[in-house]
């Protein structure tokens, strides 16, 4: 008999316990304990002499039985337990009450979120300010700066991203041509696909697509890297050496991205147009030769420059948001996940806001 049991002998007022009183074998008994107890009796002897195995849960169970009986004014005597078993029963307590966890109510939670968000915005603004000052200071000691970190960042965020950025912009070029080509065909204005593609890809799609891919790819990586450095106290180690963590950790990432995103944008321009060119030939009957000839007039330098001009702004957003969120990591593994999510969402949000800002600004100046 393995399962823990209790049996009550009415004649002798004895509650005999038997079986294995261990974590694994007490489940049944625990579930319907009260039914087994002679709560109406005047006095009860608890006998543990036939218990074959005993652990802390067994001891806890015995304590519970005693407490339950005593609560019903039953006189309890304990017998037949070995000395180690009695020691264990002595040691465990059953009145360790778990306090209710504090559940935050809706209004205080809302208030705290608002204050937290406000505080985070202020911290981000001051972070940007610090970065600007550090960036300006960097000009005064150009020969002392370690450029290799930045080059490494360019390789990781730029060179390694070439395949995915190329492929996705190629596909966007194909999709755009397909969607717009159908409209143009009805007017027989097939060749103007070049004008449309030139405007859409160079001005909007290439920089935006590149920035969003890099935000997901490198922005998230920045947050995780910096976050782990924060947890492992590497940031503190830099501080006590008198170095400014922002300068050694954040600055190379920002300037690395400021180089790699514009370059990636040019790459995306090329592949987007290539996709469009292949699709124009297949669907609209615009030959490659015609496409390139027309592109010379149709794509203005200003579209290209505007597209490339947005890229460093996006780079600044991605790198600073990524590092900023990384530095806000606290303690746990969960926090890294939370900050990385925040970093990507915040970066993409700010990129699109900045892009909208550009559109408004440029249309105001009529460019």
């Amino acid at each position: 008999m393995k399962t823990a049991c209790v049996e009550y002998d009415y004649a002798e007022h004895r509650l005999s316990c038997s079986g294995e009183w261990t974590t694994a074998h007490l489940v049944e008994l625990e579930r319907n304990l009260i039914e087994h107890l002679p709560l109406a009796a005047a006095e009860v002897d608890i006998d543990g002499s036939t218990i074959s195995a005993f652990d802390t849960v067994g001891a806890w169970m015995v304590k519970k039985i005693i407490a339950n009986l005593q609560a019903h004014n039953v006189l309890v005597r304990v017998g037949g337990f070995s000395t180690p078993q009695l020691d264990l029963i002595e040691l465990v307590s059953i009145d360790q009450v778990l306090a209710k966890p504090e559940v935050e109510r809706f209004l205080p939670a809302l208030g705290r979120t608002v204050v937290d968000q406000f505080e985070e915005s202020l911290a981000f603004i001051s972070f940007i300010g610090e970065m600007v000052i550090i960036g300006l200071c960097a000009f005064t000691k150009l020969n002392k700066l370690d450029w290799s970190n930045g080059i490494y960042v360019i390789e990781k965020t730029g060179a390694r991203a070439l395949p995915i950025v190329g492929l996705l912009s190629f596909l966007i070029g194909v999709v755009l041509t397909y969607q717009m080509g159908v409209q143009l065909q009805t007017y027989g204005a097939n060749i103007f696909i070049v004008d449309l593609l030139g405007l859409a890809i160079f001005r909007e799609f290439a920089p935006l697509l590149t920035a969003i891919i890099v935000a997901g790819r490198s922005g998230a990586a920045f947050t995780a890297e910096v976050g782990i450095m924060k947890i492992r106290e590497e940031i503190d180690a830099l501080k006590i050496m008198g170095l400014v963590p922002l300068e050694t950790i954040v600055f190379p990432r920002i300037w690395g991205l400021i180089w790699s995103i514009p370059l990636l944008t040019v790459w995306a321009d090329l592949f987007g147009m290539l996709g469009g060119m292949l699709m124009s030939d297949a669907m609209l009957g615009v030959s490659h030769h015609d496409f390139i000839q027309h592109a010379k007039h149709a794509v203005s330098l200003s579209s290209f420059v505007i597209g490339i001009g947005k890229a460093p702004v996006f780079a600044g957003i991605i790198a600073s948001v990524g590092c900023f969120q990384g530095l806000r990591v606290t303690g746990s593994a969960e926090s890294i996940g939370a900050q990385t999510t925040k970093s990507v969402v915040m970066a993409i949000f700010l990129i699109i806001v900045a892009d909208a800002g550009f559109s408004i600004l440029l249309s105001y100046f009529d460019i």
Binding site: T56, L91, V97, L98, G331, S332
Partner: protein, 268 residues
């Protein structure tokens, strides 16, 4: 010590390591190492850095496979055992990792309740009560129950991790540097806690430690690892007089002597 020799003859070892060899690439860690640990004893493993103490423990926990040799835990050979019997062995062992290894996304109580919830059929209320019981056993206050591991001090992390290791009332408790990173007072209190729990819960303790005070306080036998094998395996008092120069150097240094003096004063 008489008791122990009697025990050895009559009882089967709970952990039996036979002719174990391990290597990382070309670097040999263990070479033909054999060791037995008996029911109810506190076995401590010492040795210089890189002597393979932690690796040995990882082998016994079946977290890492050796190159050659066998390890029997409760008579089950670990490296040929199927998942079911390995699982059964694992449920009989509790491990206190060096840095606690508490799940950082769960509160202290949820950490302790986790194995209970996974492996027993108790109701949620009972699981919570049992988790509180374990916290009481290791001397943590009910207020600590809802704290997250990142909010705990070093000593509290060790205690919470010990509570989790004891959640299923294991037969063997593994301790990896139980007192490292604790202040002397907390370390002493933790040693006492382990002695107390060991006697009431009838535990066999296998620990890796550098702490000489801990060794004097709680170890029944101490195994000294060096050059990939067991250089000595005896009580602390005997190790001080060891033939082996390396072992003597370890225990007869100024720190070793200080710990011994302190222990003698305390015991006498």
């Amino acid at each position: 010590m008489m008791m122990r020799t009697v025990l050895k003859d009559s009882m089967k070892p709970v952990i039996s390591i036979q002719h174990l060899s391990t290597a990382y690439g070309k670097h040999t860690i263990h070479q033909d190492l054999s060791l037995d640990v008996y029911q109810g004893e506190v076995m401590a493993i010492v040795g210089g850095s890189g002597s393979g103490k932690t690796t040995l423990m990882r082998h016994i926990l079946a977290l890492q496979k050796p190159v050659a040799g066998h390890i029997y835990l409760f008579g089950t050979e670990l490296f040929t055992a199927n998942q079911i019997s390995l699982q059964a062995c694992r449920l009989q062992t509790g491990v206190l990792f060096q840095h606690g290894a508490l799940f950082s996304t769960l509160s202290v109580m949820q950490n302790v309740a986790y194995p209970l919830r996974e492996y027993t059929d108790y109701s949620a209320t009972t699981v919570n009560e049992l988790a509180m019981l374990k916290l009481q056993l290791v001397g943590l206050s009910p207020q600590a129950a809802h704290q997250m591991p990142s909010e705990l001090s070093g000593g509290m992390i060790k205690r919470a991790a010990l509570a989790r290791a004891l959640a299923l009332d294991p037969q063997i408790l593994f301790l990896d540097e139980p007192t490292s990173g604790l202040d002397p007072h907390s370390a002493g209190a933790f040693d006492e806690l382990i002695i107390e729990l060991k006697s009431v819960m009838d535990l066999t303790v296998f620990m890796v430690t550098h702490d000489l005070d801990t060794l004097w306080q709680i170890a029944d036998r101490v195994t000294f690892l060096g050059h990939g094998r067991v250089l000595a395996c005896a009580t602390m008092a005997e190790l001080g007089q060891s033939e082996h120069s390396e072992v003597r150097a370890y225990f007869a240094g100024p720190r070793g002597r200080a710990a011994q003096q302190a222990y003698k004063v305390e015991a006498g």
